[in-house]
């Protein structure tokens, strides 16, 4: 029996890779008066709904998708978190 899971993939620029989007947001926030912002990193969020037998299976499947397609390890880090679809 498979169930549906929601997997969030958080993709962020690898340390050492420039993040112009994050930097621009940081400076724009500064200009708007948000002076307590220490740093900003900008990344992508890919949310998948996936059928799998267990949460662990879903996790494994999505990690393999990341390796293959969703993330580019040369420039990006990624983190997969899986949860049940709320009914």
């Amino acid at each position: 029996m498979t169930e549906n899971y929601l997997a969030d993939v958080q993709i962020t620029p690898r340390a050492g890779i420039l993040d112009p989007v994050g930097e621009t947001i940081a400076s724009a926030l500064g200009n708007l008066g948000y002076e307590d912002v220490r740093s900003v990193r900008a990344g992508r969020l890919i949310r998948l709904e996936i059928a799998a037998e267990t949460a662990q299976d879903a996790q494994t499947a999505v990690e393999s998708m990341c390796e293959e397609l969703i993330a580019n390890p040369i420039i990006e880090d990624y983190l997969v978190t899986v949860r049940d679809v709320e009914k």
Partner: protein
């Protein structure tokens, strides 16, 4: 001929609301219009039918208030193959080739979501062109925004530029020109007009027709969602103060799917597999289905349950009125249905046969077999009630136009004059638009002979040695102060820009951006401007092949300046005769052609320097305008001119500066005496910064001046030598009306080039 045109009874669909007078009003229909609907149907409409009428009889689709005015425009010439009424106009450019072109507005969507609004506007106009069988080769964007001092305006402007850019860049069509005007009048209601140009072998021309009983009707491309329902009605209403109450679901552009649609459509047309094809644009399936049927006098019978959808539980009302982007309606020959599917599949596109063509003249829509709409096509499409209204000039405009301007006609010192020039070059409406167009792919397709930055963009055509020159122009301030003049100027300025490049103007498309036509003063602007446009088009023999009307451009009762925008297309029959805008060689003679008159009314000078919008705009002598165009084209053909630049916003001083800034080897000096220029006696301000029409700054090789003068005289235009081109990096010197200024060309260039970047540095693409 057709026996029964009355609609059969249609049962009320469960879940649909009852038709009340309130609901009718909400659909933007007057009680009289509703009476007419009852008459056409011979019964009460269903909820879905009410939605269909509402969309088709909106200003956007039905041209209620503009149709009688548009009917006065000239639409024919030897070159016109397809005039107004199709997805785009088409002209013949020789050797069996045609050029399809059209302009469209996306003002209201862009005021709410600038990036997506502009992107989807580009998508729509591209589809209008490639559904004629033409491959899009260029995009132009005419933009009007509020002052860049306002953060909201900067946000909208930035978003629109990125939206236009990203869409065209991704589809692979270069954006090679346009205009960008900034004035507080557009603060809350910016104008975003996009023009597309395409080329096609004329034998491949296809129209939006639903012909041949039994022929399958196919929906192709993106699936239908709930986005943009009632977009057409929305585009025909004023924005509320917040710009959001009646906000429809924002439509998101998908340029990738558009590119696939473009390639697949052209392949289908090339293989002759289609009978007709049309974009599902404003009012979606409703307008495409009914208009295709109307053009061929047929009927159409579709079942919406066959339509691929993106969301569950959509009603027929929603499916018929959705404005989801990147969708098209095709009519195929039955024997080709399979072949059509194969092509679409090759391009990874969805296609669903949703019905077929009939001969009973009805727009019949079913939901799983059950009829939910049955409306006779012709009255729905062609008999939208039209209104001819009374126009009256607003008294405050009359007051402004007749304002005494004498205190602005002179300067106190050379320094004040130089500062005035600097202010004008720094004014965003005049300053370099590089910041915009470097975000656009201007060279893809390798047809761009002259990209943005010159008077007209010049594009290579597939015909032997021919090119197309194109310019978009309009002047809202002129039109505000004198709508008839404004209508004329849009046309003659565009023609001048095209002719400066050496090309002969052939035909125009137009976009009419006005306020609420129910106001007599707005109707006055609209009718006068259209009249002026028509006169100028007739005089130049550049008929109107199509266009777009965008009314209700106002917020909280404040209309924008009435802004007719013209997209002018011209033909250059020999690439060798192309003329650049800017100075080419040190030592060349500088000439001014055309008469400078005592005209400072409505100028950028008054607006940018004195914050004043007043006075009579410069008068257009249509005969003079025509003679100038003929002269410019002949001069180019005879290779007499080295450069030609139109004199418009900011007058002679700005035109000369622009020629210098764009100099072939970098900013170039020059030495000019304005007093030499042909003029009736004029004040210093009129001489330096007045915007008298039909003037051009030319250069020719030292010694060619007499030939130039002879040619000018032959064409009845006045010309005079005013000075000499200097070297790169040298000083620019102008004298006139007892003033003198001197400034390094590089300095002028820095002011001109930094005006937009300086104001826009804060804005970056954070939200996409």
């Amino acid at each position: 001929m057709m026996e029964s045109m009355t609609a059969s009874p249609v049962a009320r669909r469960t879940g649909d609301p009852e038709i009340t007078s309130h609901l009718v009003t909400e659909h933007g229909l007057t009680p009289e219009e509703y009476e007419l609907i009852l008459e056409i149907l011979g019964r009460e409409p269903t909820f879905t039918e009410l939605g269909v009428f509402s969309a088709m009889w909106s200003e956007h689709c039905g041209y209620k208030n503009s149709r009688p005015l548009l009917a006065t425009l000239p639409t024919k010439s030897d070159a016109v193959v397809q005039g107004p009424g199709e997805n785009a106009g088409v002209i013949d450019v020789g050797e069996g080739w045609g050029v399809a072109f059209k302009i469209e507005s996306h003002n209201h969507p862009s005021a709410i979501e600038p990036y997506q609004g502009a992107a989807t506007g580009s998508g729509g106009i591209l589809r209008d062109v490639f559904t004629m069988g033409a491959r899009p080769i260029a995009i132009f964007d005419s933009l009007h925004f509020g002052s860049l001092d306002s953060p909201r305006s900067r946000y909208l402007f930035d978003g629109v530029v990125r939206g236009v850019g990203d869409y065209g860049n991704c589809v692979g069509v270069p954006t090679v020109g346009g205009e960008a005007i900034f004035d507080p009048a557009y603060e809350k209601n910016p104008l975003i007009n996009v023009m597309c140009i395409g080329v096609l072998p004329l034998e491949q021309l296809i129209r939006g027709k639903a012909e041949g009983v039994g022929n399958p009707v196919m929906a192709v491309g993106a699936r239908t969602g709930r986005d943009g329902i009632h977009g057409a009605t929305f585009a025909s209403e004023e924005l509320d103060e917040e710009g959001n109450d009646s906000r429809p679901q924002v439509q998101v552009g998908d340029p990738f799917t558009e590119k696939l649609l473009l390639e697949a459509s052209l392949e289908l047309i090339e293989k002759d597999l289609l009978v007709g094809i049309q974009d599902m644009g404003a009012a979606g399936l409703t307008s495409s289905g009914t208009e295709m049927a109307a053009r061929s006098g047929s009927g159409i019978d579709i079942d919406v349950s066959l339509l691929p959808v993106r969301e569950q539980g959509m009603t027929p009302y929603e499916m018929l009125l959705s404005e989801s982007q990147e969708r098209m309606l095709l009519v195929a020959k039955p024997e080709h249905e399979e072949a059509v599917r194969e092509v679409l599949e090759r391009w990874d596109l969805q296609a669903a046969t949703i019905g077929n063509v009939t001969d009973d003249g009805m727009f019949r829509v079913r939901e799983a077999g059950e009829v939910v709409v049955e409306i006779p096509v012709i009255p729905l499409v062609d008999e939208c009630p039209t209104y001819v209204r009374e126009g009256v000039e607003a008294p405050e405009v009359l007051e402004l136009r007749t304002r005494d301007l004498s205190e602005y006609r002179d300067f106190t010192s050379n320094k004040e004059l130089l500062d005035t020039l600097k202010t004008l070059l720094d004014s965003p409406s005049i300053a370099s638009k590089r910041w915009i167009y470097e975000q656009y792919d201007t060279t893809v397709q390798t047809n761009t002979l002259e990209g943005p930055g010159s008077d007209a963009a010049v594009l290579q055509l597939p015909t032997d040695g021919c090119a197309l020159a194109v310019s978009t122009d309009g002047n809202g301030r002129f039109t505000y102060l004198n709508p008839r003049t404004g209508g004329q100027v849009a046309v003659v300025e565009a023609a001048r820009n095209v002719a400066c490049s050496g090309a002969r103007p052939i035909a125009v498309t137009n976009c009419l951006n006005f306020g609420n036509p129910l106001r007599p003063e707005v109707y006055h602007q609209l009718s006068e401007a259209v009249a002026g446009m028509g006169e100028a088009c007739r005089s130049l023999n550049t008929p109107v092949t199509g266009g777009n009307v965008s009314l209700y451009n106002e917020t909280g009762g404040e209309p924008v300046y009435p802004t007719p925008v013209i997209g002018m297309v011209g033909l250059l029959t020999n690439l060798e005769h192309r003329v650049p805008s800017s100075f080419q060689h040190a030592g060349d003679e500088i000439w001014v052609v055309g008469v400078t008159r005592e005209e400072i009314g409505a100028t950028e000078y008054l607006a940018a320097v004195h914050g004043l919008v007043a006075g009579e705009p410069p008068v257009v002598d249509l005969n003079e305008a025509k003679q100038l165009v003929d002269f410019l084209v002949t001069a180019a053909e005879n290779s007499i001119v080295r450069s030609a630049h139109d004199c418009s916003d900011g007058g002679l001083a700005v035109a000369l500066s622009e020629c210098a800034i764009g100099g072939k080897d970098g900013p170039t000096g020059f030495d000019v005496a304005l007093d030499e220029a042909p003029s009736s006696v004029v004040s210093a301000a009129a001489l330096w910064f007045g915007e008298s029409q039909s003037r051009v700054v030319l250069t020719c090789t030292d010694g060619d001046g007499s030939a130039l003068l002879q040619l000018a005289e032959k064409h009845g235009v006045r010309a005079a030598r005013v000075g000499t081109v200097g070297g790169a990096g040298e000083d620019c010197q102008i004298t006139g009306a007892s003033y003198l200024i001197q400034i390094a060309a590089d300095k002028l260039a820095t002011i001109y080039e930094s005006a937009l970047p300086r104001r826009m540095t804060e804005q970056a693409g954070l939200t996409s």
